[in-house]
Amino acid sequence: MNYQFNWAMLITEPYFGWIADGVLTTLHLALIAWCIAFVLGVAVGSCRVSGSAVLRLFGGAYVELFRNIPLLVQLFLWLYVAPQLLPADTRLWWNRLDSVPYWTAVIGISFYTSSRIAEQIRAAMNAIPQGQFRAALSTGLTPVQMYRHVILPYAIRIMLPAITSEFLTVFKNTALALTIGVLEITATTRKIEAWSFKGIEAYTVASLTYLATTVAVIGVMTWLERRLYIPGLIRRGG
């Protein structure tokens, strides 16, 4: 092999600054998208199990729409098609924003991920015994109070392992944002390779970034699972 390794270049400018920017972009893109996805997912998932047929229909349509189109295609749709549907002045405002690709990626990844979280919420709520609903209502809680204090906290504890996987998936899905021009860590890596022809070093940085963040996420979620562990109900493990 004739390849000359040059690991030291990674901590020289401009590469180091690029890497730092790329890592940060990946991190906040994933975090913002995940938070929005979680809120939307809980709301849509609750619609899917609600007593109202209209809400159930809405929830079902939402999930099928965002779950069944590839994320890559959705990103292109949000970038090229969705702005065309906006009123002219809103479209102008949007196109003048500094970071249209970034916010497009936030929207695309959030909606896609929320459809998956909604399904997990629905599955978790369906796993809760009917008696819990009846017990909560029998004490005079309103349906909203029942979901807020009894059903959702219970469901979220059941679905924590699934949420962990989803969180990891969000991190890795942010790599797709490079296709619409977001300089997250994978795009940065390609840029470094193009400038320096040092592909191995560059891609090692990207791989290690994903590995380190996902390991950190697993650590945090394991801690959270311990904290929210329900004594005597869910077997402690993992």
Partner: protein, 246 residues
Amino acid sequence: MTAPIIQIQDLGLAFDGFTALDGVSLDVMAGQCIVVCGPSGSGKSTLLRCVNGLERFQRGDVVVDGTSVRDCRDLPRLRRGIGMVFQHFELYPHMTVLENVTLAPIKAKGLSKAEAERVALHYLDQVGIADQAGKHPGRLSGGQQQRAAIARALALEPKVMLFDEPTSALDPEMISEVLRVMLDLARSGMTMLVVTHEMGFAREVADRIVFMDRGSIVETAGTAQFFSASQTERAREFLHKVLAKI
């Protein structure tokens, strides 16, 4: 003469073509303890759930303390006055016993946390598990869980208590500790509608026994009369099986 606190009037309920209740009428006076028995699928639990509006019925009505369940615009308020105890306890597993008991008094009734905890501890003490208040339900025995569930219902200071097979999921040795709490409650003058197969309990405190089969009341009789001289063949057959347990 005062009006009955629960009036069940010609109640009819069907789902998916199956008739769960077919013209059930029953009056319960304040302070009475009524035991409802009958084979599984006879509509006993469904009947209880109609009383606090957990089940939607198609025919007839239930009037609780002057409020029609059918026309009730504020079911949470109605339900606060009716405590309910379930076969599988249905404590919220992610909360401590104390949180289980104080949730509804705080959220539904608007008590302060301190006041709700004072009330909760009073009732937990009454059912004999005040020392378990800080534990999660999963750490308690079945009997303790069911007593906690009774305290949760009592903490709203209801006028009526509904018991839906409260001892059916318990080991034999834990049945008695739950029954004792229920006996005390009945003797203290609580109005109780109890679905159970515990005929010893029925004999001890029931004012009347209602025997149901296939969605209808087959026989209703005073306790002594029910055990000594049931009017219907079906009730005699059932009693024989329940008492012999083989």
